[in-house]
């Protein structure tokens, strides 16, 4: 059964930063890309490396040899071992999107007030009404 879990406050993960959290025994990497939050499993599906230790990169493409286009700065995580690139939005690898992918999780940013009033309680820290919280559904 899916449940929602508070994993961090928004101000704990600055743009460009990441945090590794554990939810029900699963390691999940939470990434802040220019204020937008993404969550993917920490285990590379290729040989099991910790994806969170990889570099955030942009997307390099070429419409033809000699022509480079660079976009989506920081939206791909590159595995620290073999360099597989995974799209933080989908968890899919760039080269084998259907075959090699990491689980991506739905994230929501919610105000503390709403969380306290609802059914949800943070497991590891108290929720304060003034703050914004990152909530992952697992």
């Amino acid at each position: 059964m899916m449940a929602r879990h508070i994993v961090a406050t928004v101000d704990e993960i600055a743009p460009g930063q990441r945090r590794l959290v554990s939810v029900n025994g699963r390691e999940i990497g939470i990434f802040n890309v220019d204020g937008e939050f993404f969550a993917v499993g920490n285990r590379c599906p290729h040989e099991g490396a910790s994806l969170c230790k990889g570099r955030l990169v942009g997307l390099v493409e070429a419409s033809e040899p000699g022509s480079y286009q660079y976009s989506r700065r920081g939206e791909l995580i590159r595995c620290p071992w073999h360099g597989w690139e995974f799209d933080l939005r989908t968890g899919k690898s760039w080269c084998e999107p259907d075959r090699t992918k990491v689980r991506s999780y739905e994230l929501k940013v919610e105000p503390g007030g709403a969380l306290v009033e609802g059914e949800l309680r943070a497991e590891t820290f108290p929720v304060s009404i003034e703050k914004q919280y990152i909530v992952v559904e697992v």
Binding site: S50, W81, H82, G83, R103
Partner: protein, 367 residues
């Protein structure tokens, strides 16, 4: 959630038992080797430097995809390059991956490619002692490799004979980009010394000889350079076979390390085909070339081939010979193979144990 997570955690439940034939130790600083190097050569290095047949002799011929060609997670907290911390090596690799024995393959300074032969020979002596003092004596799971300056055959033979009776050493290391192809007779005294000391010759990718790394000239991209290691190994193997090294030294054992595997069956078949037609050019060969390969050559597994289907991988192992495959990780380099996930096929426990452990135990004569 529609995403399917590839979960191979099943295999992780089994306790691992691994012999890793390819671990790259590094120096925190060059001064680590000073206690084992004559003062003359310490001064030489500081005044004249390291001379290899390429520009920027302290750099690699092609930039790697990651600094130090290393896993990004392999940098020690206390500083220094990946592979320089024994503590991290234990914590990150030896302990969790069940490594019973790990073979050291030092690459830095490339003594076999040094243009100054005496400096190269001095470096081999120093780095061989450094391996024992800095690594093997501190960690009984590790074993050293006898580095040799192969372009100075006399010095190489002397060093092999000096280390031959020392159980800290398990193999002789040569990087394949040598001045001439490794089958040439100038190198034969090294093979004679290897047989005399019952040590295999391990040919691990690398070396700088001034020749383009591919048969088609200098490549543009690191990816091409990375592919060229297989071409280099094919050149080494054909040279050893056709020059008659295996015929002359039937007890010589050669390990081709980190050169890939997929090309081995096709090269063997091609050499046999040509031999059946052109045999008279190399009358010193008494048997089809593939037989020498099958009997006297072993191959390390990393970087493991990842064909489209598991059946192709099994077929490849069948063709090469399961007993010829020696597991290796290449720690701490970026193309590291994890023993749990390297073989993308459902292997039986016996097959897995043979690849990860048994073959190397037999080959290196370990316990």
């Amino acid at each position: 959630m529609s995403t399917i997570e590839m979960d191979r955690s099943q295999s992780a439940k089994h306790k691992l038992r691994v012999i890793d034939c390819d671990i790259h130790p590094a120096m925190t600083s060059w001064t680590e080797v000073h206690p084992y190097l004559e003062k003359q050569w310490i001064d030489h290095l500081s005044v004249y430097g390291s001379h290899l047949r390429h520009a920027f002799s302290e750099a690699l011929s092609h930039p790697r995809m990651s600094p130090d060609a290393a896993r990004i997670d392999a940098y020690p907290d206390e500083g220094g390059p990946p592979g320089s911390s024994l503590e991290l090596m234990r914590k990150q690799h030896l302990d969790p991956n069940g490594v019973q024995v790990g073979m050291l393959i030092p690459l830095r300074w490339n003594p076999g490619s040094q243009r100054n032969l005496d400096f190269g020979a001095a470096l081999t002596r120093a780095m061989n002692t450094w391996q024992v003092e800095r690594w093997v004596k501190q960690e009984p799971r590790l074993r050293a490799s006898v580095l040799v300056a192969q372009e100075d055959t006399e010095a190489a033979v002397k060093e092999i004979d000096a280390r031959g009776g020392d159980p800290n050493f398990t193999q002789i290391l040569i990087l394949p980009r040598t001045d001439e192809p490794l089958g040439r007779r100038r190198y034969w005294p090294i093979y004679e010394a290897a047989v005399r000391n019952n040590l295999p010759i391990t040919v691990h990718v690398g070396g700088t000889n001034g020749h383009p790394s591919t048969g088609g000239g200098w490549p543009s991209y690191y990816m091409e350079e990375h592919h060229s290691v297989a071409q280099t190994m094919q050149a080494v193997l054909t040279s050893l076979v056709f020059e008659g090294v295996f015929e002359r030294f039937p007890k010589l054992r050669v390990v081709i390390m980190e050169g890939g595997l997929g090309w081995i069956p096709s090269l063997s078949a091609r050499m046999d085909k040509h031999w059946s037609r052109l045999r008279s050019e190399v009358p010193h060969l008494k048997r089809p070339p593939s037989e020498y390969v099958r009997e006297q050559v072993w191959f390390s597994t990393q970087p493991m081939e990842e064909p489209g289907s598991a059946a192709e991988l099994i077929d490849l192992f069948d063709r090469i010979g399961w007993d010829r495959l020696l597991f290796s990780t290449d720690y701490p380099h970026w193309d590291f193979d994890d023993p749990r996930y390297a073989f993308k096929a459902n292997l039986s426990e016996a097959q897995r144990d043979q690849l990860l452990y048994g073959n190397s135990r037999n080959f290196y004569g370990l316990g």
